[in-house]
């Protein structure tokens, strides 16, 4: 009887144990599955985030200002294609469709899009959450480029580039207006003219600043030329020659046909009209010059007295800022090369930002009737600290 009861109890305990174990297994399995699911979901999202951050850091947009075309170039310089989410067209307005402002929805790797400065978007926002400034960067580069142009071509930085030398093609350009006066002794020479020999022949210049049609150079047609050398010092750069008009020919100032002999004292005033603009960036303006002189007589050219002066003349006020120049003379077979410079510090002279004419005066005095001046020529004038406005011939 007792064993019968025990058998029943044993069966019940086994049944209970099975149920309990089943429930425990269910709970453990569910918990395990839940934890695994959480871990998987978390690691999955973290992997996606890591991938996103990696792609985001690969997005690069380079903004380049093209000074020649005055264009703003936006280039995808990164390692991934860029999907444009939004384009800011001003500081307060944006468009959601990039095509409206001429941008594709996807900028492929290496692809470039050009805008004019006015049409350049303010900023481009990508779908990966990068915002690239475009217009401000272009304007900054444009300002830098202009300033660089000023520094290099205008010589603001204190060095001369080929762009701020008036000689050869820039000296003979269509925009040139040089007003000149020539004195032999104390007498003004009325029939003086500036001539230049180039590959087309001899050209002359005589201009009235108030009459732009007289600017530039014209071919000499009605006179024969009695000037043998267009490059007296054989420097491979021709010079503008002070010539005298005789009845039917053009001769050099010391030529007996000029009627001025003996020429022992000459003063040449050259006023280069509206030749330069001095910007607010300029600090020291330096004017360089080179004249070529031919002397006849026993004295070498360096024994002759040279006295150069330079003045800046403001166009708006006609105020003059003048200074004497330094010289260096070298000579070869009666040919003297007079080169030098004049320094005009801005804060000494207190000249204003303006358009200026430049006057260069060269006085030559041999001091003896036995030593005569035969030829006076200008090879170049160069500026630093100021921009030259005359454009060269193409």
């Amino acid at each position: 009887m007792l064993s019968h009861k025990r058998r029943w109890r044993g069966q019940v305990e086994v049944t209970g144990a099975i149920i309990a174990v089943g429930v425990l297994l269910l709970v453990i399995t569910t918990l395990f599955y839940s934890i695994i699911q959480l871990q998987q979901a978390t690691s999955d999202v973290f992997a996606k985030r890591a991938s996103f951050e990696s792609e985001r850091s690969l997005e690069r947009v380079s903004v380049i200002y093209d000074p020649e075309g005055e264009l703003c170039v936006v280039k995808n310089a990164g390692g991934v294609d860029i999907e444009v989410a939004r384009v800011w067209v001003s500081d307060s307005d944006f468009v959601e469709e990039p095509e409206v402002v001429g941008l594709p929805a996807t900028i492929r790797r290496g692809e470039s899009i050009s805008f004019t400065l006015d049409a350049a978007p303010v900023a481009v926002v990508t779908r990966r959450g990068n915002a690239f400034e475009v217009r401000s960067e272009c304007l900054r580069q444009a300002a830098m480029a202009r300033s660089l142009v000023e520094v290099i071509y205008g010589g603001v930085g204190g060095f001369i580039s080929s762009q701020n030398i008036i000689g050869a093609t820039r000296l003979t350009s269509d925009q040139v207006c040089i007003v000149y006066e020539v004195y032999s002794g104390d007498s003004k020479v009325d029939n003086a003219v500036l001539v230049y020999g180039n590959e087309t022949g001899w050209i002359y210049h005589k201009c009235d600043p108030n009459n732009p049609s007289t600017y530039g150079w014209k071919l000499v047609t009605q006179y024969s030329i009695n000037i043998t050398e267009s490059d007296l010092d054989t420097s491979q750069v021709n010079e503008a020659v002070i010539a005298i008009i005789t009845s039917n020919s053009l001769v050099e100032i010391g030529d007996p046909k000029s009627g001025l002999t003996p020429v022992t004292k000459v003063r040449v005033n050259l006023t280069l009209y509206n030749v330069t603009r001095i910007s607010s960036n300029a600090d020291v303006i330096t004017v360089f010059y080179k004249f070529v002189i031919q002397i006849q007589g026993n004295a070498p050219p360096q024994q002759v007295s040279y006295n150069p002066r330079v003045a800046l003349i403001a166009l708006s006020s006609s105020v003059r800022y003048g200074a004497p120049g330094s010289i260096a003379v070298s000579s070869r077979q009666n040919v003297g090369v007079v080169s030098g410079y004049v320094v005009l510090p801005r804060y000494f002279y207190e000249f204003q930002s303006d358009y200026y004419s430049v006057e260069i005066v060269l006085e030559i005095d041999t001091g003896s009737a036995a030593i005569k001046i035969f030829s006076v020529r200008l090879e170049y004038i160069a500026f630093t600290g100021a921009e030259i406005l005359w454009k060269p011939l193409p």
Binding site: K5, A20, V23, L26, T30, S34, K48, A85, V125, A131
Partner: protein, 198 residues
Amino acid sequence: MVACGREAVKRASLRGQSDLIGVVVLLGAVLIIGVAFAGMALTSVSTFIGVNRVKTALSEDQSSVFIYVERENATHTCLGVLRIVPDYRVYAIGLFTSDLSQDLSGAIIPPEPDTLVPRTIESNRIYRLYQGEYYSIPVKGLVNVYFLTDQAIRDYILQRKPLLVCVDKGGLPSDGYLVVFSFINNELYEVRGWYVKS
């Protein structure tokens, strides 16, 4: 002899009934205890799973939601809010003082129409995230937040496109803290925040 036999049969029958009743009682007790245990266990598991699901969702949101400064000037700061994994989730945006003691949502400007809709919600249903744990925010009473509209969720969250939210700096008495909340079980949980200088 016959009477003795009947007596024996009757006694045996009584014993059988007694055994049966014992077995039924034991089985019933086992079942009750088993079911109760199973019920408790399953309830605990269900709660655990529910909490885990919320944690999973919040963990996903914390990893997926990304805020960056898109434009900033003297008067406005515009932030981009981006979910890097497209998934249908409901988000709300609030603006508070940096210690979350004051509601500054009046300074929020939804720059795009039909993207944000204002709504008030009890502060005891809003949780801030601090060092990985969620705490109630110090603001009491009703709090103004902006919920993303269905259209915003469709056009931005599901398109993986950044949503623009601007803050009027003039409306900030001090530095502000813009919070992106995830709306889960009728409660708002902070998933990402950004300090905005006044």
